[in-house]
């Protein structure tokens, strides 16, 4: 059977900055309270125009599940790796807390979780994906900014979206080959 390559496609024009994705993620993945403890985020762009004609864009983000992973490369104990679905995972018991992966990640997608005693990050809600569900951030979004699916399946919604629309990835110049795609 062909391996899956899971990805998320985002249409940021639909984002209303409600941060329901962040709350759903924190609840689903039991993220400790704190300003620095989060797996996903919504970056707010600068205000455009002048009152009353104002505009602002938002860019939700999380671990980009890169194909060329700097975090995986630098981890001294192989505590982080890419699984068969293309999801970058962390094996808590092997994480020594050197935080090298945090300095290596160009997206600031990782944080140290004092409760698990390991570096933590988005895993596309791997526990949900394993039982055929979609990630909590995808499910909860009221405007359906995120679409989740398998890029190795040409019939999947993510494959169709990327075939029909132009898209971009974040920081392409670093060569990480992210699997979060932003429609343009």
């Amino acid at each position: 059977m062909k391996k899956r390559r899971l990805a998320i496609v985002l249409d940021t024009r639909k984002c209303i900055d409600c941060k329901a994705c962040t709350v759903a993620c924190k609840t689903e993945n039991k993220i400790p309270l704190g300003r620095e403890t989060y797996r996903n985020w919504v970056s707010e762009g600068p205000l455009r125009g002048e009152y009353p004609n104002l505009g602002q864009s938002y860019t939700p983000g999380q671990c980009m599940q890169c194909a060329n992973t700097p975090c995986d490369r630098v981890c001294p104990t192989r505590a982080t790796w890419v699984n068969d679905d293309g999801i970058v995972v962390v094996e808590d018991r092997k994480c020594i807390g050197c935080k090298y992966c945090m300095t290596a990640c160009p997206y600031n997608a990782r944080y140290y979780n004092e409760e698990t005693g390991a570096v933590d990050k988005c895993t596309f809600c791997i526990q949900r994906v394993a039982v055929g569900e979609i990630p909590a951030c995808v499910e909860t979004c009221p405007t359906k900014v995120r679409v989740f699916g398998d890029l190795n399946d040409p019939e999947s919604e993510v494959s169709e979206l990327l075939a029909r629309h132009p898209y971009r990835v974040l920081k392409p110049e670093i060569g990480t080959e992210p699997f979060l795609f932003y429609l343009m």
């Binding site: 700097p70 020594i96 050197c98 945090m102």
Partner: protein, 382 residues
Amino acid sequence: MPKRLKISPKWLFFSLLTCGVIAGLAAAGYVFWVGHSEAYNVTREIPWGILISTYVFFVVCCSGLCLVSSLGHVFGVTQFEQISKRAILLAIITMLVGFGTIAMEINHPIRMAIWVVLSPNFSSPIWWMGALYGGYLVILCLEFYALMKDRHGMASTLGLLGFVMAMAASSNLGGVFGLLEARPFWYGAFLPLYLILTALVSGGALLALIVYFNHRTRGLPFHEGERSFMDALGRLQALFVGLLAFFLIWKVITGLYGRPPQGYEAMMALINGPLSLPFWLFEVLLGLLVPLVFLLRRQSRTPQGVALAGGCSLIGMFFMRYDMVVAGQLVPMRVDVGEQAGTWLAYTPSVTEVVIVLGALSACLLLYSIAEQRLDLSSTHT
């Protein structure tokens, strides 16, 4: 009439260092009690702070001591043979204290000892850092044993091995930073080479201090041979510090020229930002310019002058490590509202972090001073 308590300088010296070590241990205990997130000011955005920079300071001092002292017992420059034992001993102590410092920064040092063996990642520069410094420590211990037992052939062979390991370990340490594509301020071949050069500066500075204070504390005069050694060391140091100045000048020029993304902002953090005080005052003035003035003038290249230049260089080196580690992380990875383009993230070491650093410096000095008291470190060659 009550007897007046007489406090000797030696008693005061050892008491102060012991207090420093106790304070450091207390701070370490506090970290174990409340956890890293409570005790340290490192953040998600700036995960490496002063403990990492102090670790770099210590282990690069270790490499430098080995490199410069190898001139004597490896490359046969007889003037340098008198300091071999002291240099190797201090190299061992600086490495052990450096390991202690990084163990306080890593969340799970015991887990590390297990998994770097059971699940090694050979593509990780940190894995290589542990392997190289671990092997290097064993070589240094054997070398010190050989020197103490006057087994010159063995000491010379181990010294050569130590020389290679010192080069490999310090340049790989530069690679720990230099291989991170995400951090343009660090990325590239500059840091591995820079760390070798700064190792030479640190090693030379420490050797000057060792020789000078060994004579001062024992009340020994500087004979002609020792004066000529200090003069030679001073000239060597002038070369190292002069080269370092050029390395720094070119790092600044490449950081500013054409405003490379992220690298420019990090460089500006040093030149005219949150790190400008440690950069200009300690790294440039105290660490480079003052030593150069003392070392280049023949009149001031006396034992005192060379030692003073060494002390200044060493202080400069400490801040240079801090600037290097922190500047690379001050530029935000994501530009959100409130963190507008061109602004820096903030990091100030916590009291606990500073006390641990002071404890580490005290431990290094205390261990070396005790060894000086207990061991016969004088050379048989002079």
